[in-house]
């Protein structure tokens, strides 16, 4: 109990001393002001979930900036994904348009997959998606991408490891 109380007090202090600064820090880097408020809030919520960290923080501002920076990149990437998704949808003939619900489902799946495959090289992603989404055999993928069979194996293995690490992060 005592330690939880301390952590809350620590968080309060952190919030009072650095919240305004963080909002300004984000606002300088983000396309609009409302989103700076929201992201600052999200940053502190991250901390709320990990009270044990608060006491060990040496330099709070660079720590907050690092979390907020990651959130900004995530958000930007999601927006990019949404924009590209809508553009792709627009190219489909009307008869093939998914319903609104399907569109939403596909979009949440997209964000999920994008997160899983974060950080892979384009060719690794390409090979993996051909195997998983198109159901192509490794041999066909190797021919399509003009690489060897063992390269395809390597790419898929690397992608699976990325998925694993994203799904089961080890602290």
């Amino acid at each position: 109990m005592a330690s939880k109380f301390d952590a809350n007090a620590g968080l309060n202090k952190l919030y009072q001393e650095h919240h305004q600064w963080l909002v300004r820090w984000i606002a300088r880097r983000s396309p609009n002001w409302d989103c700076a408020q929201d992201l600052a809030q999200d940053t502190f919520i991250r901390l709320l979930n990990r009270p044990q960290v608060i006491e060990t923080i040496q330099s709070p501002r660079s720590w907050l900036a690092k979390i907020a920076g990651n959130l900004l990149v995530d958000q930007a990437r999601r927006q990019l994904l949404e924009k590209n998704y809508l553009a792709m949808l627009a190219t489909l003939p009307e008869a093939e348009q998914p319903s609104c619900e399907e569109q939403w489902l596909v979009f949440s799946l997209l964000t999920q997959i994008d997160k899983l495959l974060n950080g892979l090289r384009p060719i690794e992603k390409q090979a993996f998606l051909m195997a998983r989404l198109d159901g192509l055999s490794y041999r066909v993928i190797a021919t399509e991408l003009s690489v060897s069979l063992s390269s395809v194996e390597k790419y898929v293995a690397k992608a699976m490891l990325a998925c694993y690490k994203a799904s089961y992060p080890q602290e």
């Binding site: 999601r78 990019l80 792709m88 899983l116 390409q126 089961y168």
Partner: protein, 327 residues
């Protein structure tokens, strides 16, 4: 999402075992007659509970992908395109040597909005989702339309301004030196005027509403004087006078959208500057003439009114995608 789904299953597994499990998965998938590999893999799975757990986890992850509905091509293309766009930003960042990861973050955020990272980074004045008003140091008044950027270099001897993205309306204050405006395919010079400039990748549009300005088009030796009330379109090859009676280029300053007898297709093109998605009409309606004065803040009403007057209706495929089609 996976984290939540498997929150009960958080037991750490030695990374070497994860690697082995992945290797089995890949071997089985890669082989054209995998039966013997599957048998060997089953033995490996039975050796140790962690082997089996690693195997199960990977199988569950694979299922994420097989849940994809019929639109798998769409999903794949969207992911690959997003990746390419993202790489593009990172690469341009590196070339420009805009120092520091924090700036890169901002740039990515902006490019996500509408691919304008560098313009926004270097701008002295910028707007994002809404139009903005600024008073410059020489007391000129600058209205920036949404998603627009301007660079300014003023000294006692010279006033330079460049429109690097989007649209602006500038009320130029009188000063000792004339104001130069850089835009694609030409430069404007004016002592005092109210002037509108739009830039796109392949042309620029200039409209003078008060005073006058002179235009020096790229590759031309002669200055063209633009009087109040005139509108010109400038591209790499020519300068042409536009009929400015069909569309009021500057009404956004007052939050209004004003057109007279404009073909619906062009109308929707203009309007889509203010719509965060896709606006389309059925090709039968492309040349239907549209008139009216509308409040920009109320996009739904604009579309509804336009559709009604053309005997058509608006259909929303998503929140970000509206089509006007005949009844």
């Amino acid at each position: 999402m996976n984290q939540q789904q498997h929150s009960a299953d958080t037991q750490p597994i030695d990374e070497a075992i994860v690697h082995q499990a992945i290797n089995w998965h890949v071997q089985i998938e890669s082989s054209e007659s995998p039966l013997s590999t599957i048998n060997a893999c089953n033995q490996w799975r039975a050796q140790n509970p962690d082997h089996e757990l690693a195997w199960q986890r990977l199988t569950r992850i694979n299922q994420t992908f097989s849940n994809t509905p019929t639109t798998s091509t769409l999903v794949k293309h969207t992911l690959i395109k997003t990746d390419a766009d993202y790489q593009d930003v990172t690469r341009r960042q590196a070339i420009k040597r805009v120092a520091g990861s924090a700036l890169a973050v901002g740039a990515v955020a902006l490019v996500a909005q509408r691919q304008g990272a560098l313009e926004h980074l270097q701008a002295d004045y910028a707007s994002s989702s809404n139009a903005r008003f600024h008073i410059l140091e020489d007391n000129s008044e600058l209205w920036l339309n949404r998603d627009s950027t301007v660079e300014v270099a003023f000294s006692p001897l010279r006033r330079d301004l460049a429109l690097t993205r989007g649209e602006m309306t500038l009320s130029v204050a009188k000063a000792r030196s004339p104001l130069h405006i850089d835009m694609p395919f030409g430069q404007l010079k004016t002592a005092s005027s109210k002037i509108f400039v739009r830039r796109t990748n392949n042309h620029a549009i200039v409209q003078v509403s008060q005073g006058k300005a002179s235009l020096l088009a790229k590759g031309s030796k002669h200055r063209l004087t633009i009087e109040a009330g005139k509108t010109y379109r400038v591209d790499a090859h020519r300068v042409e006078s536009l009929n400015s009676n069909t569309f009021d280029y500057t009404s956004w300053v007052d939050g209004i959208f004003s057109v007279r007898n404009m073909p619906m297709k062009s109308f929707l093109q203009e309007l889509s500057r203010y719509y965060p998605g896709y606006l389309k009409c059925d090709s039968q309606l492309d040349n239907t003439l549209v008139s009216g004065v509308y409040q920009l803040a109320d996009m739904d009403t604009i579309l509804k009114t336009i559709a009604l007057s053309a005997g058509a209706k608006v259909r929303y495929l998503t929140r970000f995608w509206a089509t006007i089609s005949p009844n």
